[in-house]
Amino acid sequence: MNDKTFLDGLERLVISNRPGDIERCESNFKRLLSEGDKVSGPLLMLMDTLEAQTLQALFKQGDIEQAKKSAFETGRVLALYSHFYPADMGKSPDSQLLYPLMSDSPELIHWSKQYFIPLLRKSQGKYVFDNVNNPEFHALQLRLALAGDWGLLKSRAEAFLSGSPKKYKLYAVDSRFYIALCEGNIHGMEAAISELLSPKVLRHRDAEPCWGLEHRLFSPWPFILSKIAFLNGYDLDVQIPNVPRELLKVSPLEKYESDLEILKDVPLYEPFFDVEDAPVPNLKELSPRPLKSPILSFEEARNFCGGG
């Protein structure tokens, strides 16, 4: 991306982070909640503002600590959104991991990698996560990589490479990265990131419609995959344009706090409620588990949905 694009990206952030945006969204959320009305609008607009704050801190102020704090708040609002709309994401299910990963918050990352519910719906009797045409397929790969579920991750990556339609050839690099990750092959991971950073691939991957605020400033996919490698203990020698290397390294803040009032009533690990007409059954059992408990594996999650 050139300087003009980057400056346009910074200008765009100002639009999403107007003075008073946060207070207005919080106030509207409380009012609608008290009236028993839908709260998706104010929560999504609050996310829009917090995403812009995160990116401003990172790319305008160069303040990584503030960026991690704002990214944490973005992820917490997304988690709050999931309590009202558990099977919906508010963000596409693969891009949803960007801000939790940026935050470096162990708790938020731990929550995010177990939040399988939106991936477990079925379409025409088949799970959406098994179809390479769906974002849920890729979203599950990211969660398996974060959770270290190597067997399933590798077999799905190999299946993608051997059987996906030609139109997805620019996504094959992700599968090569996952296979290298499963094998602990650092050079393979670095080669995949390098390929992902090539102009031919980036031109397409940066332009995916899930990257509204981000794509003028940096390339999210190389960051996401590299960060997953770092979280798994691999210190990759990669340089992602505009992304400081400190952001790739695993370095959580000493404390993660938020001034957002609306986050105070719903703890991150508050279990979901079962509801009758939910597109995914057993929501309570599918609730992400806290750090000190055994992680909810994907196999368990699938069994709670009746297997298949």
Partner: protein
């Protein structure tokens, strides 16, 4: 007011999930569309942000009916 154009058939139409998993005209779909607006249309962004935040937004589907030839407009709640 947000309007999505779609063909009707005998007075009926349907909203689909896009490739990212959002139902057309849902709040999440509108948020994503806002993110893709060009820089010279930011006043649209501001209007949508205010309307979504206050839940003061009407969502309509409009289009011609392939069977009857009539122009139809339908308000939806998604």
């Amino acid at each position: 007011m947000v309007v999505d154009s779609k063909p009707f058939k005998n007075g009926q139409t349907s909203l689909a999930k896009n490739t990212l998993g959002d139902l057309q005209l849902s709040d999440a779909w509108i948020k994503r569309t806002m993110g893709l607006l060009p820089l010279d249309q930011m006043e649209v962004h501001d209007l949508l942000k205010d309307a979504l935040s206050r839940k003061n937004i009407r969502k309509l589907v409009a289009g011609f009916d392939d069977v009857t030839g009539e122009f139809k407009v339908l308000e939806v709640d998604v």
